[in-house]
C-alpha cells in the first residue's frame, strides 16, 4: 500500500488485543450495572455475584470484544453518515497485504474466515475430546473415583455443549465459508462483515462456556432442562449466554449464506447446476435461519427466569418444563440436521471425483436434502415420547420421524449409484467417506429403534441414544470433516498430507470409534442411563471396554491433529494444484486463491461432474488456462 495506514487500520491490526481489553471493560461495566441497578431478590450462594450481574457482564463483554475488534466502526460510520469505505478500504479489510496477521483480526475475506473457523473448531474439538477422555476415565468404575458429582456433571455439560457448538459449524464454517463463494463464482459473500461477525461470535461463546468452571459449573447437560436450570448456580448463566451467541451465529450465518447463494451466483448458474455441496449448505442455512430463533426465545425466557424470577418454566409459578422442552427441541432437532446435511453434501461432492463418474441422481439427491430439511421441523416431539406430553400426538411424530429415513436413504442410493461399476480411486478421503457411510448407516438403523415409540420406551435416555447420536455426529459428520480436511487441504493451504500415516490413522480411528460406541450401544440396551456418574456393577466390563477403545480413539484423533500440524507447519510439502484431478470450479482457481477469487467471474456451463467427457464446469475467460489436470 502506498498510502500510510490510517488510525483505524493501525487499531485493526491490534484488533484481538483491543477486543480482549474491550471484553474486560465491558464485563466490568455490565457486572456493576447488573449487580447494583437490577433489583434481585434471589438468595442463592452468590458470593461471586448475582445472576443479572453475570448475565449483563457477559453480554457487554461480548459487545466490548466486538467493539475492540472493530466491528462497530462500519455501523457507527453509517449512523454518522460518514463516507462509505473506499475500494481500498475494502481490499484492506479483505486482508490485502496482511500476511499472517489477517488471521488474527477482523477480516472480511471468506477464505481467511474459513481457515479461522477450521483452526478454532479443531482447537475446541480437542478440548471437548479431552473432556470425553475424563468422562470415560470416570466411568471405568461404577462409583465416583476421579471426579465428584458436580465436576463430573459440569464436565458432561461442557463436553456436550462444546461439541454441539463446534459440530454446528464444523463443516459449514470452514468449508462452507471457504468454498461456497468460489463454487458459485462470487468474489465475496453477500455480507462479508456479517460473515466475520458469525465467526468472531464463536470464540467468546466457547470461552464463556468454559468459564462456567469458575462459576460453579452447571448440572443440566447440553439440553439445559428447566426447572433444573432455574435451580443451578451462576455457572448456568455461562451456558445461556454461550448458547444465545451460538444461536445468533447460526442464524446470521444462515441468512448470509442464503443471501449469497440466492443472489450472487455467476452467470449461467441456475439452481439446477449448483454443485451438490452448495445445495447442502443452502438447505442447512435455511434450517439455521429458521430454527435458531426458537432457541433464542427459549434462552431469553430462561434469562428472565434467572434474573427477574419470572416463572416461565417453574410449575409452581404457573410455568411449565414442557415449554422449554418444546422450544428447545424445536430448535434442537433441525440442529442435528445442521450437523449432518453439509456432511452429505461434502461426501457427494467428493464421490464423483474419486469414481470419475457424474453424480448419479443429482436431482433426487437435492430432493432428498430438501426433504430432510422440511421434515426436520416436524419431528421434535420424538425427544418427548416418554415425557407424558400429548400422548395422542405420538403416532404422528413417530411417523414423521420414520419418514425422514426415506430422504436419508436417497443419499445412500445416490452414493451407490455413483459408485456402481466405477473403478473407485481408493485415496485417503475415500477411506474416510467409506467410514462415513458405514458409521452413518449404524447411526441411521439405531435411529429406527428410537423412532418407534414402544422400543423407545426401553431405549430412551439410555446410552443407546448416546451411541446413536455419536454414530451420526462423530461417525458421520466428523469422518466427513476429516475426509474434507485431507481433500481440501491442498487448496486451502497449498500443502499436502502424508498418505501412509493417514491410512494407518484412518484404520485406528475407525476401529476404536466402532469399538467404543458398539460397547456403549450395548450398555444402553442393558439399561444404563445417560449422564450418570454411578451405574450398576454388571455394566462395568462393557464400560471398561468402551473406555479402553475411547483412549485409542482419543489417541488416533490426536494423531490426526499431529499429522495435520506436522505436515502443514513443519514439513510444508507443496501440494499439486489439483491433486485429485477434480473438475470443480474451486480446483481451477490458482493456489493460493487470489484475494477476490477470480480475475473475472466465470460463466457456468454445467454441473462439475462430467468426468466422462472431461468437460469443465465453467468458462474462466481467456485469462485463465483451461482445466489443467494435476
Amino acid at each position: 500500500m502506498s498510502t500510510p495506514p490510517t488510525l483505524a487500520r493501525r487499531l485493526n491490526e491490534w484488533g484481538l488485543l483491543l477486543g480482549v481489553i474491550g471484553a474486560v471493560i465491558g464485563f466490568i461495566i455490565g457486572f456493576a450495572v447488573g449487580t447494583h441497578a437490577i433489583p434481585y431478590s434471589f438468595d442463592e450462594d452468590n458470593s461471586l455475584g448475582s445472576d443479572p450481574g453475570i448475565l449483563l457482564g457477559y453480554a457487554l463483554s461480548v459487545v466490548g470484544f466486538l467493539a475492540g475488534m472493530g466491528f462497530l466502526n462500519y455501523p457507527i460510520g453509517r449512523l454518522l453518515g460518514a463516507k462509505r469505505p473506499t475500494e481500498e478500504d475494502n481490499a484492506y479489510m479483505h486482508g490485502e497485504g496482511g500476511g499472517l496477521t489477517r488471521y488474527f483480526r477482523m477480516t472480511t475475506d471468506h477464505k481467511v474466515i474459513g481457515l479461522q473457523y477450521l483452526v478454532m473448531i479443531l482447537a475446541f474439538l480437542f478440548i471437548g475430546g479431552l473432556g470425553a477422555m475424563f468422562i470415560r476415565t470416570e466411568l471405568l468404575t461404577p462409583s465416583p473415583t476421579v471426579a465428584n458429582a458436580q465436576s463430573y456433571l459440569t464436565l458432561v455439560g461442557l463436553h456436550s455443549t462444546l461439541m454441539i457448538f463446534m459440530a454446528s459449524a464444523a463443516i459449514i464454517g470452514p468449508f462452507g465459508n471457504y468454498f461456497v463463494p468460489i463454487m458459485i463464482g462470487a468474489r465475496n459473500m453477500a455480507f462479508p462483515r456479517l460473515e466475520a461477525l458469525t465467526f468472531w461470535l464463536l470464540p467468546p461463546a466457547g470461552l464463556i462456556l468454559l468459564s462456567t468452571v469458575f462459576l460453579g459449573g452447571f448440572t443440566t447437560g447440553w439440553t439445559g432442562y428447566a426447572p433444573l436450570a432455574d435451580q443451578n448456580v451462576l455457572g448456568m448463566d455461562s451456558y445461556l449466554i454461550a448458547f444465545a451467541l451460538i444461536g445468533m451465529s447460526i442464524g446470521l450465518s444462515g441468512v448470509n449464506m442464503i443471501a449469497t447463494i440466492m443472489t450472487k451466483r455467476a452467470p449461467g448458474l441456475p439452481l439446477s447446476r449448483m454443485p451438490i455441496f452448495v445445495w447442502s449448505v443452502l438447505v442447512t442455512s435455511f434450517l439455521g435461519a429458521l430454527a435458531a430463533p426458537a432457541l433464542i426465545a427459549a434462552v431469553l425466557m430462561e434469562v428472565f427466569d434467572r434474573s427477574y424470577q419470572t416463572t416461565f418454566f417453574v410449575p409452581a409459578g404457573g410455568g411449565s418444563p414442557y415449554l422449554w422442552e418444546n422450544l428447545f427441541w424445536f430448535f434442537g432437532h433441525p440442529e442435528v440436521y445442521i450437523f449432518v446435511v453439509p456432511a452429505f453434501g461434502l461426501v457427494m461432492e467428493m464421490l464423483p471425483v474419486f469414481t470419475r463418474r457424474p453424480l448419479w441422481g443429482y436431482r433426487v439427491a437435492v430432493g432428498g436434502m430438501v426433504g430432510i430439511g422440511l421434515l426436520s421441523f416436524v419431528v421434535w416431539q420424538h425427544h418427548l415420547f416418554v415425557s407424558g406430553l400429548a400422548p395422542s400426538l405420538r403416532p404422528f411424530y413417530m411417523f414423521s420421524t420414520e419418514l425422514i429415513s426415506v430422504p436419508t436413504g436417497i443419499i445412500y442410493l445416490v452414493a451407490l449409484g455413483t459408485l456402481w461399476r466405477a473403478r473407485t480411486r481408493f485415496t485417503v478421503p475415500m477411506l474416510f467417506i467409506f467410514g462415513f457411510f458405514f458409521n452413518f448407516l449404524i447411526g441411521g438403523f439405531t435411529g429406527v429403534f428410537l423412532s418407534d415409540v414402544p422400543s423407545d420406551f426401553t431405549l430412551h435416555a439410555s446410552y443407546f441414544v448416546q451411541a446413536h447420536f455419536h454414530y451420526t455426529i462423530m461417525g458421520g459428520e466428523v469422518f466427513a470433516l476429516m475426509a474434507a480436511i485431507v481433500y481440501y487441504l491442498p487448496k486451502m493451504t497449498g500443502r499436502t498430507m502424508d498418505t501412509k500415516l493417514l491410512r494407518f490413522q484412518f484404520w485406528a480411528v475407525f476401529i476404536t470409534f466402532n469399538g467404543t460406541f458398539i460397547s456403549l450401544i450395548s450398555v444402553g440396551i442393558l439399561g444404563m442411563p445417560r449422564r450418570v456418574i454411578s451405574y450398576a456393577a454388571y455394566l462395568q466390563p462393557l464400560n471398561i471396554s468402551a473406555t479402553v477403545f475411547a483412549y485409542g480413539l482419543g489417541l488416533s484423533m490426536a494423531l490426526f491433529l499431529g499429522i495435520l500440524l506436522w505436515e502443514v507447519v513443519i514439513k510444508q510439502k507443496v501440494a499439486a494444484r489439483n491433486p485429485w484431478e477434480s473438475l470443480g470450479v474451486e480446483w481451477q482457481v490458482p493456489t493460493p486463491v487470489p484475494l477476490f477469487n477470480f480475475d473475472q467471474v466465470p460463466v457456468a456451463w454445467s454441473l462439475p461432474y462430467d468426468y466422462d467427457t472431461g468437460k469443465p464446469a465453467a468458462d474462466f475467460g481467456p485469462a485463465v488456462p483451461a482445466f489443467s489436470g494435476a
Partner: protein, 279 residues
C-alpha cells in the same frame, strides 16, 4: 467382466448368509428388556421385529457399499476407466423410494397399533377413583411414583395412601404407575418391566404394566436431575406373590401409622415447595 459377475455372486451369497444367520441368531438371542412384564414383552417383540427387518436391509446396504467401494477399487497409478457414465435412473430411484416408503409406512402402522394396545405413558389415569380396590388382576392397581432430588418414593392409594421408600408389586396384577415429581424433571425407569416415564412436577404421567416374574429389580432415574442423578437408583424393587404383597402392605401400614397424619392427602400431583426456587 466375468470376475465382476463372480464378485457380485460372492457378495450376494455372503450377504445372504449374514442376513439369514443374523436373523436366526436374533430370534434365539435374549432381547431387551426381557419378559418380566407384558409391557416389557411387547417392547422386546417390537425391538426383535425391528431388528429382524432392519438387519437384512442394513447388511444389504453394507454389502453394496463394500462391493462398490472396496471390491471395485483401483489404485491411482493403474487407472482403469470407469464404466459408462450414468446420470440417474428413474426406475431405480422410484423403486428405492417406494421400497423405503413401504418399509417406513409398515413400521409406522405397526408402531401405532402397538402403541394403541399398550398405551404406555398415556398421560391420563384410567379410572375415576384411585382408592377403589381392583376386583380382578386385569383391573389396574394404582401405584404412585413420586420423584424428588434424589430418590423415589411410592404411594399406594388403595391401601390408605401409605408412602414407602421401596417399591413392591404383586405379580400378575396390572399396575398403573402414576409418575410425578416434586421438584425438577426426573424419569422413572423400571428397566425389567419396560416402564419409563418422565416425572414432571404438577404432571401425572401414567404407565400400565403387569409384572409377570417374581424377583428383585433395579430402578433408576433416566433424566438428568442434578447432582446425584447417577445415584438416584435402587436395587431393591421387588415383584412378589400376592400373599407376600399383602403381608408387606400390612407391615408398611403399621410402620407408616405414626406418620400418616403428616402426609399430604393423596393426589395425582403435589404443589412443589416454592422454597426450592428461592422466591
Amino acid at each position: 467382466m466375468r470376475n465382476r459377475a463372480t464378485a457380485i455372486r460372492v457378495v450376494i451369497i455372503v450377504w445372504f448368509i449374514l442376513a439369514v444367520g443374523g436373523d436366526v441368531a436374533l430370534a434365539f438371542g435374549p432381547i431387551p428388556p426381557g419378559q418380566a412384564s407384558d409391557l416389557a414383552s411387547s417392547e422386546s417383540l417390537t425391538i426383535l421385529l425391528l431388528a429382524e427387518i432392519g438387519w437384512p436391509i442394513f447388511s444389504a446396504v453394507l454389502a453394496a457399499l463394500f462391493f462398490t467401494m472396496v471390491v471395485n477399487r483401483t489404485a491411482p497409478p493403474t487407472e482403469e476407466p470407469s464404466a459408462a457414465a450414468l446420470r440417474g435412473n428413474t426406475r431405480a430411484q422410484t423403486a428405492w423410494i417406494a421400497g423405503t416408503l413401504v418399509v417406513v409406512l409398515s413400521l409406522a402402522v405397526y408402531g401405532t397399533v402397538a402403541l394403541a394396545i399398550d398405551q404406555p405413558g398415556a398421560g391420563v389415569p384410567s379410572q375415576a377413583s384411585a382408592l377403589a380396590m381392583p376386583t380382578s388382576t386385569s383391573q389396574p392397581l394404582e401405584v404412585q411414583v413420586i420423584a424428588q432430588q434424589w430418590w423415589f418414593t411410592y404411594r399406594y392409594p388403595t391401601y390408605g395412601g401409605i408412602e414407602t421408600p421401596q417399591l413392591v408389586l404383586p405379580v400378575n396384577q396390572k399396575i398403573e404407575f402414576n409418575v410425578t415429581s416434586l421438584d425438577v424433571v426426573h424419569s422413572f425407569w423400571f428397566y425389567a418391566l419396560g416402564v419409563k416415564a418422565d416425572a414432571v412436577p404438577l404432571n401425572d404421567n401414567v404407565v400400565t404394566a403387569t409384572p409377570t416374574k417374581i424377583g428383585t429389580y433395579r430402578i433408576q432415574c433416566a433424566e438428568l436431575c442434578g447432582l446425584w442423578h447417577g445415584n438416584m437408583a435402587d436395587n431393591t424393587a421387588m415383584v412378589v406373590s400376592p400373599s407376600d404383597f399383602a403381608a408387606w402392605i400390612q407391615q408398611e401400614t403399621t410402620l407408616d401409622a405414626p406418620i400418616m397424619k403428616y402426609l399430604l392427602p393423596y393426589s395425582h400431583t403435589y404443589e412443589p415447595s416454592p422454597t426450592i426456587y428461592g422466591s
